[in-house]
């Protein structure tokens, strides 16, 4: 579905993503974890076409998508949300989602219907007429997901959709992600909340300083010495 090959991205001397390779299978929930500043969001920007890699290649659905533009990638089936939410503040929630739905649907009535069905799916149907900026953070994150879903993506990139939410809000959002996977969508998720990552992910890649330090199923990753080192530091030995 998605294949990253030796991708590098440098920002004035800082190697945000360094020789990174992995591949995501269709229908997976694929977790990307790592400490702050590890290059996770940069990786998303590379996959979604917001940034171009300095070297390496990205393949989406078997096609080389390295040089493709953001909006063409969206048309070919990549949807994403932002870690720092970007609602269209003065538009209503429904209109926000409609903007996404116009990606594949032309008739306005169909767009309205489809946007409404997406809102129902993410549980925002009651807020449809509210202005984007008036929502709570949890609702804004749902709206971002709804907007991305409205473009009918095959691959959905979720950038810390659980961050900043309280436990009950997280518990409400988790089933949605699982439903999407069951419907055949492939999901790549960046997440800090370990409980979430460990329970829903089929496969995890851990990155630190832009490099892959571990990969595998949740249990393998959790016990990987490099991962423990990255998160908790090295064990001290007293001579």
């Amino acid at each position: 579905m998605l294949k990253i090959e030796n991708v590098c991205k440098q920002f004035q001397g800082v190697k945000a993503v360094n020789e990174l390779s992995f591949s995501v299978e269709k229908g997976q929930i694929f977790g990307v974890i790592g400490p702050n500043g590890a290059g996770k969001t940069t990786l998303f920007n590379l996959i979604s076409g917001s940034f171009k890699p300095d070297s390496g290649a990205i393949y989406f659905n078997g096609r080389n998508s390295t040089k493709m533009k953001c909006y063409t990638l969206c048309k070919s089936g990549i949807g994403r949300t932002y870690q720092v939410v970007k609602p269209f503040a003065s538009l209503s929630v429904l209109e926000n989602v409609m903007v996404g739905a116009f990606n594949t649907i032309t008739s306005k009535e169909d767009v309205l219907k489809y946007a409404m069905s997406i809102l129902t799916k993410v549980g925002l149907q009651k807020k449809a007429t509210y202005i984007g900026s008036s929502l709570t953070l949890a609702e804004k994150k749902r709206m971002e997901i709804a907007r991305a879903l409205a473009t009918k993506p095959k691959l959905l990139l979720l950038d810390e959709v659980m961050a900043g939410l309280n436990t009950s809000e997280v518990k409400e959002l988790l089933p949605l992600v699982l439903t999407l996977r069951d419907e055949g969508m492939t999901i790549v998720i960046i997440e800090h909340i370990m409980e979430v990552v460990m329970t829903i992910c089929d496969h995890i890649v851990v990155i630190n300083y832009g490099q892959k330090i571990a990969e595998g199923c949740p249990r393998e990753v959790a016990n990987h010495p490099e991962v423990i080192k990255a998160y908790f530091g090295e064990e001290m030995t007293i001579a």
């Binding site: 917001s50 953001c70 269209f88 996404g100 509210y130």
Partner: protein, 329 residues
Amino acid sequence: MKRNLKIFNGILFVLLVILILSPIVLDDQFILNVLIQILMYATIATAWNLLGGYAGQLSLGHALFFGIGAYTATILHINYGISPWLGMIIVVAVCIILCAIIGLPTFRLKGPFFTLATIAFAEVARHLALYWRELTNGSVGINIKFDPSFTNMIFQKFDTYYLLILLLLVVTLFITYCIDRNKMGYYLKAIREDEDAAKTLGINATKYKMYALILSASITGIVGVFYAQFILFFEPESVFNINISAQVALIAIVGGMGTVFGPLLGAFIVIPLNELLRATFPEIHGMNYFIYGVLLIVIIIITPNGLYPILKKLWLRFFVKDSSKGAGN
């Protein structure tokens, strides 16, 4: 309830038509002249609003397209005998080329570059018109011979001009209305609110901004053609002046950016206000500008989104009692 509303709207529409046609029946040349000016500015401001209000791309150089319209059509008319009606098409073509030169590099950038480019281009055009004397007659200006005929787009009476600019305004409003209700309107608003998010939702932002710019510029250019044939004399300062660009932006801002009818309302407030103040303080030089400025500041402080949204809210509150419709907004 709904039927009452329909009858009410019907009566309103008839009243509107009577109001629109009354200046012609009354045949007051002064009123017609002022109305033509207002409608002209309303049309340009509505066109400006497509770009500035919907797509969020602030232009402070719409005088460029206005002046290009006036000069291109008139030069073609006087020197080559091409009818201004045909000239309009050439004006649109010239405007598209200018849009490409301004838009293609600046729409890729974030920040104030587009706005700066519009100011710069309008100023360069003004200077070109001043110093390229062989073509433009420099600061002496261009006089169009009063030779009324349909092909010359010059008419005996003001009411023909009035109807012409009214038609242009209605067409422009109709275009805006259609855009507002459809995909393009949603896309432009999305670009205005957050361009990065818009791009990841499959929107080719540069393309849509370009569409908005071309539409906006072409309409402004056509109004420029109209202006030249109406006023019959113009010079660089009267068509390329930065005041025109500022005035147009102001009208849209006061009326309500990103609304279909905001700029129309703005024109009916700003232009008469300007004229009224000029007439009220003839002896104290600059007093009219002072009061004008203060009033505009007050309007913008009280209604940062423009007057139209507030009027609409009041309208809904007093005339449409079905309050459940507006809930949540």
